[in-house]
C-alpha cells in the first residue's frame, strides 16, 4: 500500500476518492461489490451520523451508509 492509499473510513467529509480494492470476503464482500464499490469507482464521503457511525457515501449516483467495519475494508486513493 503506497502512501497515497488508505481505508475509506479515513476519507474526510466532502472529499472524493477512487476505489483501489475491496478486502473482506464472502457475503460482505459480494454486497459491497454489488453496490458498485468495484476498483476504479469514484466515491464521495457525504456525511457522518450524529453518533459518528455509519458514514454515508455517494457511490455511482446513490447514497449508501456503511459502518466502519465495512468501510475499513475498502482501500481508496484520494482525488483532491
Amino acid at each position: 500500500m503506497s502512501v497515497a492509499e488508505f481505508e475509506l473510513t479515513r476519507l474526510p467529509m466532502g472529499k472524493t476518492a477512487q476505489v483501489i480494492g475491496v478486502g473482506a470476503d464472502g457475503l460482505t464482500r459480494n454486497r459491497l461489490l454489488d453496490l458498485g464499490l468495484v476498483p476504479s469507482t469514484i466515491v464521495e464521503a457525504i456525511r457522518k451520523s450524529p453518533a459518528g457511525d455509519p458514514i454515508a457515501y455517494k457511490i455511482r449516483g446513490a447514497i449508501i451508509a456503511l459502518r466502519a467495519e465495512e468501510s475499513n475494508q475498502i482501500t481508496v486513493r484520494p482525488i483532491y
Binding site: L27, N30, D34, L35, G36, R60, G61
Partner: protein, 267 residues
C-alpha cells in the same frame, strides 16, 4: 448458504401460478428492480392493487402477484423483491433470480430509477444475461425532470437492444406504453436480441473454454453463456437446481410420452 429453489418455495409458487385461481392467465410477467425505484408503484399502477409502498429498502412483500387485462389478454404480474443484483446469496436475490430463471416468465420488466440510472443498469444488464425478453422501465422521470436530468431513451434502446419505456408511475404516466410493450414482447413470435455484455479478455477466454459443453448439457433450455459464468463464479447451487430442473423436465416428458402412446392405442 444452501438455499435452493426448493427451499425458497419457488416451485410451489410457480405451481400455484399456473394452476391459479380464477381466470386463465395468458402471460406471466416478472417485475424486477433495485429497491427504492418505485417498482411497487408501477405494480400498483398496472394491477390496481393496493399493495403498500414505502420509501425505504426491502419493503416489498416477497412475490406479490396481481393481474390486469390488456387487448383481451389476461396478464399476471409478479412483483419480485427489490434487489441490487442477482449475484449475491441473500434469500431475496435468490428468489428473484430463481423466478426469472426457472419461472420462465413471458417477459421481465426491470424498473429503474431515472435519477440514478448508472447504478440501476447493473441489474438490467444482469437480467438481460439471463433472459432476452427483458423490458427496461425508466421510472421516476418526474423526479429526473425536477433534478434536470435528461435521458435519451431512444439511444438507450439502441445501445441495449431491448425496449425502453419511460414512466412516472405515481402519476400514471407511461403505463399504457408499458402495457403495450409488455404485450408486444410477451406474445411476440420472434425472440428479441439484446446486446451482449462483453467482459475482459481473461473472463471471455474462460467462458469460451467451457461454454460449448455447457450448451450441450443444457439442451438449449437456458442461456449457456450465463450458466457458464455462474460456474466460473463458483456458484454450485445454480448447477444443482438446473440439474434437478432438467431431470424434472425429463420425467414430465416421459410421462407425457407415455400418455400419448396410450391414446394412440385406444384409437
Amino acid at each position: 448458504m444452501g438455499l435452493t429453489a426448493q427451499s425458497t418455495g419457488i416451485y410451489a409458487f410457480l405451481e400455484e401460478l399456473k394452476c391459479g385461481s380464477g381466470a386463465q392467465t395468458n402471460a406471466v410477467i416478472a417485475l424486477a428492480g433495485n429497491p427504492n425505484t418505485g417498482k411497487s408503484t408501477v405494480f400498483n399502477g398496472l394491477t390496481g392493487l393496493k399493495q403498500h409502498t414505502g420509501n425505504w429498502p426491502g419493503k416489498t412483500v416477497i412475490l406479490a402477484k396481481g393481474n390486469y387485462q390488456y387487448k383481451k389478454k389476461n396478464i399476471t404480474l409478479v412483483d419480485l423483491p427489490g434487489t441490487y443484483s442477482l449475484l449475491a446469496n441473500s434469500a431475496d436475490e435468490q428468489v428473484a433470480r430463481d423466478f426469472i430463471c426457472f419461472g420462465d416468465p413471458d417477459a421481465t420488466v426491470v424498473v429503474a430509477d431515472s435519477t440514478c440510472l448508472e447504478r440501476n443498469l447493473n441489474l438490467v444488464l444482469q437480467v438481460m444475461e439471463i433472459t432476452p425478453k427483458t423490458i427496461l422501465c425508466v421510472n421516476l422521470i418526474d423526479e429526473a425532470k425536477r433534478k434536470k436530468i435528461e435521458i435519451d431513451c431512444t439511444k438507450l434502446e439502441e445501445i441495449l437492444g431491448i425496449p425502453v419505456v419511460p414512466t412516472a408511475a405515481r402519476d400514471k404516466v407511461g403505463l399504457k406504453d408499458l402495457k403495450e410493450t409488455i404485450h408486444k414482447i410477451a406474445f411476440a413470435k420472434k425472440i428479441p436480441q439484446p446486446k451482449q455484455l462483453a467482459y475482459n479478455q481473461d473472463i471471455e477466454a474462460a467462458i469460451y473454454e467451457i461454454q460449448q459443453e455447457v450448451e450441450r448439457l443444457l439442451q438449449g433450455r437456458f442461456n449457456s453463456r450465463w450458466v457458464a459464468m455462474r460456474l466460473l463464479d463458483g456458484d454450485t447451487t445454480i448447477i444443482k437446481e438446473i440439474l434437478s430442473y432438467l431431470q424434472r423436465m425429463k420425467m414430465d416428458q416421459e410421462e407425457g410420452l407415455g400418455k400419448c402412446l396410450e391414446v394412440e392405442c385406444c384409437e
